[in-house]
């Protein structure tokens, strides 16, 4: 009898899900509500982890892109596509959570759904920049070209992020000062920390799974198609 080996990334996935449950429980029931925003502020315990980890994912994609161009290794390309997909998904979640939070606080009682704030605008543009890389990937058939082009586009997009940030900040500085940084109480730090690691582990899980799928797809492409039978063979069979 052989025990099937569990792939290493599942440990990350399990740990991530467990931590997410613990962190969210503390965030929802143990930590005190925020003085001004009240209960709705608890969205922070998933909002900030999404923001941080999506940035980590894009940085990992950038590093994988360099690795992919440098070595031409297939694993780098798998890691790249996994990291970009995880980053874009977290970024979309981040935007949705931000809008929910904003509707309950900044824009309460108004018809507003969006502010051209530095962080909002930068994360929206970041999402579009990296979604563009995925769009490019979707249209390229050749595997080698898909890998090198996505790596090139990832590097070009990643370098743009600080430029976008500065340009939006300067653009906004003419109108209003940047929102002040939140001061966070120690009871709020614990769930925040736990959830950050939870989301990070889950992201690693997704990236590794996605990389495996990509490698399998490549292997599948390399398998020669079955030979068509000659008329004699099919008649004889």
């Amino acid at each position: 009898m052989t025990l099937r080996r569990i792939p290493w990334e599942h440990w990350f996935g399990g740990a991530g899900l467990a931590l997410l449950l613990i962190g969210s429980y503390i965030g929802l029931f143990v930590a005190p509500p925020e003085r001004y925003m009240g209960e709705v502020q608890r969205i922070m315990y998933v909002h900030l982890p999404c923001a941080w980890v999506s940035m980590v994912c894009f940085t990992a994609a950038f590093a994988s892109a360099i690795g992919s161009l440098w070595t031409g290794g297939k694993k780098w390309d798998g890691a790249l596509v996994g990291a970009i997909e995880a980053g874009v998904v977290l970024n979309v979640l981040l935007l949705i959570q931000g809008i929910v939070w904003g509707r309950a606080t900044w824009w309460e009682g108004t018809d507003k759904w969006w502010t051209w704030d530095v962080r909002l605008t930068t994360s929206l543009l970041m999402c579009l920049l990296f979604a563009g890389v995925l769009a490019l990937r979707a249209f390229v058939e050749d595997r080698e070209r898909k890998a090198s082009w996505s790596a090139v586009a990832t590097i070009v997009a990643y370098v743009d992020v600080p430029l976008v940030y500065f340009c939006v900040r300067w653009m906004r500085s003419l109108h209003q000062p940047q929102s002040s940084p939140e001061t966070v109480s120690s009871l709020m730090v614990t769930p925040l920390r736990i959830n950050s690691f939870a989301v990070l582990f889950i992201a690693i899980w997704f990236i590794a799974r996605r990389a495996r799928i990509e490698l399998m797809r490549r292997q599948m492409d390399e398998v020669p198609l079955p030979r068509r039978l000659t008329p004699q063979e099919s008649a004889g069979g």
Partner: protein
């Protein structure tokens, strides 16, 4: 020295093709004029709104026509696989890139002196010849910024069926810093700069140009070479 010679040869070839045909410049220019007109129809005949947003509309019209011009610039190389022939000669792909990007910058820059007077006239913005020269300086920096990633992406997407969709998808989010900086700088030139902010926006444009001219030159061989 061969590097410079190759880049100049590519530039000369592109300018010659452009000059003999002249159809690309004409069609792109026409597109720009139509866009400028559409903006004024969208806003309505109210002169105030048009004048207020003139810098934004002008840069948007230039950006849209530039995207069109960039995607055209590599279509020619794809026809009958001319680019593969060029690389087999062999032309250093980096020299090929810098030849192409210089040609594209010149071409996009040329749209400025042609479209700007039309835009300023249509939108009723007063500007003397000296202001116009300064505006052209800003546009020169912006054109260099558009061409650097634009030529790289055009080289990649020109091989694909869906190039017309992909090029804007990839370029527009990337070019937001150029767009914002150019609009702000032009706006400050047209309506006065009491706070002295012009320098910062120009610096942002220069930084974008330097970063992407260097980076895309390094990455270009990966985009065109067969592995």
């Amino acid at each position: 020295m061969t590097f410079l010679r190759q880049a100049l040869a590519i530039l000369r070839k592109d300018l010659l093709i452009e000059w003999r045909g002249r159809s690309r410049l004409f069609s792109v220019l026409l597109f720009g004029v139509v866009t400028l007109l559409l903006f004024s129809f969208a806003v309505g005949p109210d002169g105030g709104a048009l004048e207020e947003n003139a810098s934004g509309f002008l840069v948007l019209a230039l950006l849209l026509s530039s995207t069109l011009a960039l995607s055209e610039s590599f279509r020619l190389e794809q026809e009958q696989r001319a680019i593969e022939g060029l690389l087999l000669v062999p032309v250093d792909p980096v020299a090929l890139y810098y030849g192409k990007v210089t040609g594209n910058t010149l071409f996009l820059f040329l749209l400025g002196p042609l479209l700007m007077p039309i835009a300023l006239g249509l939108y009723g913005v007063p500007a003397g010849p000296e202001t116009l020269l300064r505006l052209l300086g800003v546009w020169g920096l912006a054109a260099a910024g558009l061409s650097a990633p634009g030529s790289l992406y055009a080289a990649m997407t020109s091989r694909l069926q869906s190039r017309d969709v992909l090029l804007p998808i990839l370029l527009f989010p990337l070019l937001v810093p150029v767009l914002v900086a150019a609009v702000k700088a032009i706006d400050l030139l047209l309506s006065g700069d009491p706070m002295g902010q012009l320098r910062d926006w120009l610096l942002l444009l220069v930084a974008f140009d330097l970063i992407y001219w260097a980076l895309c030159g390094i990455l270009f061989p990966q985009a065109v070479e067969e592995r």
